[in-house]
Amino acid sequence: MTSALSIRNLHKVYDSGFVALKGIDLEVQPGDFFALLGPNGAGKSTTIGVICSLVKKSSGDVSIFGTDIDKNFSLAKKDIGVVPQEFNFNQFDKVFNVVRTQAGYFGLPSKLAEQRTEKYLKKLGLWEKRNQPSRTLSGGMKRRLMIARALVHEPKLLILDEPTAGVDIEIRRSMWQFLKEINASGTTIILTTHYLEEAESLCRNVAIIDRGRIVQNTSIKALLRQLNKEIFIFDTQEALTILPNIEGYKGQLIDDHSFEVEVEKHQSINTLFASLNDHGINVVSMRNKTNRLEELFVSLVESHNTHNERDEESDEESEL
């Protein structure tokens, strides 16, 4: 099957000499909901910039649904919709015109362009605002406007660069729901985000990029299976002065009504609950201490950085 996105040995060196991408390889299958994660400056936005032609690549190959961007970028672009990180529409244009104009840029005939504009403004809850200047919208509305604009030509591949940054929780959840629907209808979605909870709840596959290299490319499930331990926080009904020794588990008191316990991959939570019960501890609620993906993300990036530092040290030694 032809990949929705295929990237081979992608390099990017900016005019300043900064090496942003050091040989990226990436495959995203049609229909996937794919997360591209990485710390700030890792190369996520550069990768997206190359895919949608805002950044000139130094070398490497990029294909969109089998169309090489070097051979027919115009055809490849028809399949792509982009929602950038920063607002990039004309702030003086009316909301309707922002979307309608983009439809025109993709060659949609007038009547169809207006129908699609109406359809996506309604879907994203902006139809009532259609005659307002876009600068008067709230931050969340502006993000939704960029999503409507990216969808107006109904692309097969939707790329979202941190689409929910600065959006309140309620709107974020409704955007998640909308993106799930778009993906269910067959649109391939690539998402970069800093909210790892977002990647965990939306995406099936993930690539982690750091310092211009892909350090992990797998399914979210497989990634989470790599977690060796999780820390759970338990809230108790009665106050505790000390935490009794629970055999096989490491735990510590947080305050008089809560404590945390490390549960390793091979250990059972049932056994833990049985031990707590034996010690007369009544648990009223439990939760993960941190986002699981976040823990893994930090450990992967840290491990990659340590390897890089070692490589750099060995390079220096060999030069000496």
Binding site: K56, F73, V82, P84, F89, F92, Q102, G104
Partner: protein, 257 residues
């Protein structure tokens, strides 16, 4: 994109551009009209009668073609430079760059937008001039041809300025320090016959002189220069600037990192 889609994209850009300058008509259409009326009052009614005849015409008759041309030049240039730099500044140019619109369509769209404003102002100024003098058109094809080519040329120049500009200061430097002096010294207000021989030679290096004089020839039938040569030169400049603008777009100069 097939030709039909390209046509849709082209008209979208043109409509967007026309909508922009008509929406802000208080900044784009009204000020040049007021300025030109002041020129007509001062040079036509107050000072003009004291100057006497120039090239066989009253001063107001002589100066009207130059002022129409000056309005066309200034407005076709400033429309494209401010609009395209505005899209760069707001990053809305990315809407175009991520779309499949070919670069020559982007360029044509902006140029036609600039030409539309230049010609609209030219028409407004022409209508206003009728309150001060009777206009005659001696050579219609020459008049229409040169005003159109001049608008195209300065729209292209505005586009190039916008591509290279990094700040709003950069889009006012060329109009202030290059365009305005060349226009004022381009035979708008006087015939170069009045100048000493040396300055006549210097004036002949100024391309705006050829445009103004060709337009004046179209209206009044008098000129200081060779009209055929003027058409050839303006057309040549148009081709040169179009090719250069397209080169800038194709290479993403100051647009793609």
């Amino acid at each position: 994109m097939n030709p039909q889609e390209q046509w849709v994209a082209f008209t979208t850009i043109v409509v967007k551009e026309v909508r922009r300058f008509t929406r802000i008509w208080l900044q784009t259409l009204l000020p040049p009209a007021i300025t030109i009326v002041l020129y007509f009052v001062i040079f036509g009614t107050l000072i003009g009668p004291r100057i006497g005849k120039m090239s066989g015409f009253s001063y107001i008759e002589f100066v009207v073609p130059g002022l129409i041309m000056m309005s066309v030049i200034t407005n076709s240039y400033s429309n494209v430079v401010s609009s395209f730099f505005g899209t760069k500044f707001q990053r809305s140019v990315e809407e175009l760059l991520v779309s499949p619109v070919p670069n020559y369509i982007i360029l044509l769209g902006y140029v036609v937008g600039g030409v539309a404003r230049g010609l609209m102002i030219g028409l407004i100024v022409t209508l206003l001039s009728l309150f001060f003098t009777d206009l005659q058109v001696s050579h219609v094809p020459v008049t229409v041809g040169i005003v159109f080519l001049t608008a195209v040329l300065f729209a292209l120049a505005g586009f190039i300025n916008a591509v290279f500009a990094n700040s709003f200061d950069d889009i006012s430097i060329i109009p202030t320090f290059v365009l305005t002096p060349l226009t004022y010294l381009g035979g708008v207000f006087y015939s170069i016959d009045m100048l000493p021989e040396f300055w006549q030679g210097v004036s002949l290096v100024n391309p705006i002189l050829y445009m103004v004089n060709t337009f004046r020839y179209g209206l009044l039938g008098v000129t200081d220069i060779n009209v055929a040569w003027a058409f050839a030169m303006v057309t040549g400049f148009c081709v040169l600037l179009f090719v250069f603008s397209l080169y800038l777009l194709d290479h993403g100069k100051k647009l793609r990192s």
